[in-house]
């Protein structure tokens, strides 16, 4: 697994949420581990951008952008706080 980390999608997260989000704490809905989004495992080349939990590899977030519209799936997050 040669993923990057949440720093790589700081711009995308900022686009979607309208604020700096890499320091925000995301909690994994699969295992309950929480930490800065900067520390998640990020795959840019999956179909869309896939953000996985560094503890359990569960999918936390998925972003798919088509013609300037980004679809966001946050079902893998149980909490997101700044």
């Amino acid at each position: 697994m040669d993923g990057l980390d949440g720093n790589a999608i700081a711009g995308l997260l900022s686009d979607v949420f309208g604020a700096e989000m890499t320091t925000a704490t995301g909690t994994c809905a699969t295992c309950g581990a929480g930490g800065p989004l900067a520390e998640t495992v990020v795959f840019l080349r999956a179909p869309g951008t896939v953000v996985r939990c560094r503890t359990c590899s569960g999918v936390m977030m998925v972003f798919v952008t088509v013609r300037e519209t980004t679809c966001v799936d946050l079902r893998g997050l149980s909490n997101l706080g700044t």
Binding site: D2, G3, L4, D5, G6, N7, A8, A10, G11, S14, D15, G18, A19, E20, T22, T23, P36, A38, E39, L44, R45
Partner: protein, 247 residues
């Protein structure tokens, strides 16, 4: 439909290339002028977007190499042979050209003088770029925070900012070490291997000194460095990591 700029939202801006400096055979520093650059913090990056004549766009993230105090916003880009963006930036771009960028981006992998130290900086390859911004910021702000840098590169010729790093290592409170993993010049006294536990135990501050650690490099480098430091007793919460790859 044109979108109005919303405060806090990232917007694409035009940046003019002021100067290009070859750092190594594959890496160039690109000094940029922007009319309305809001300033940045050391360690942050920008997104760069290229648009082809047919409208195709490619976008990549690059670390800022300059300190907030420096006159120009500078990026250092290493050419990836199969890259879509970096070969253009390194080989084609000329002074006077315009680039589209947005930023500054990121708030996690950031060091400011007020955060204190001691500082431990671990760089793998072009992972040195954001750490160099921190070193320049530290110097520009006359900070006396002690800093140790360990920089792993394949060969001495691939060491980015070599002269600058050797120059700053002559000052009190700055310790710079290199490890070369593939080729060594004759008489090389630095390390000759990939980073490992023994090397980090030698270079890192003792865990009891609670250094602030910044690790930037390819994913494998970052994993080894961060997990070894935790093994050595360093607090995970004081270890900031940034991984890059051929994205």
């Amino acid at each position: 439909m044109a979108r109005a700029a919303i405060p806090g939202r990232l917007t694409w801006k035009a940046a003019e290339v002021v100067e290009l400096v070859g750092e190594t055979a594959r890496a160039k520093s690109i000094a940029l002028h922007l009319d309305d650059w809001p300033g940045h913090r050391a360690g942050q990056h920008v997104d760069v977007r290229l648009t082809a004549e047919d409208g195709y766009q490619a976008q990549r993230s690059y670390s800022i190499a300059s300190a907030p105090e420096d006159g120009y916003l500078t990026l250092t880009v290493e050419r990836l042979e199969d890259g879509e963006v970096s070969p253009y930036l390194v080989d084609v771009l000329e002074p006077g050209d315009e680039l589209e960028l947005r930023g500054p981006i990121g708030g996690y992998f950031v060091w400011e003088v007020a955060l204190g130290g001691p500082l431990l900086l671990l760089a793998g390859g072009s992972g040195i770029v954001p750490l160099r911004a921190m070193l320049r910021h530290r110097a520009a702000a006359d900070s006396t925070v002690p800093v140790r840098l360990l920089y792993s590169a394949r060969t001495l010729d691939e060491v980015i900012y070599r002269d600058e790093l050797v120059r700053i290592s002559a000052f009190d409170e700055v310790d710079v070490r290199f490890t070369l993993t593939r080729e060594w010049p004759e008489g090389w006294r630095g390390y000759r291997r990939r980073i490992d536990r023994e090397m980090l135990a030698e270079v890192a501050w003792p865990a009891g000194e609670r250094p602030l650690v910044y690790v930037c490099g390819p994913t494998a480098f970052v994993e080894v460095a961060a997990s070894t430091l935790v093994d050595l007793g360093h607090e995970p919460g004081r270890i900031k990591t940034e991984r890059f790859g051929a994205s």
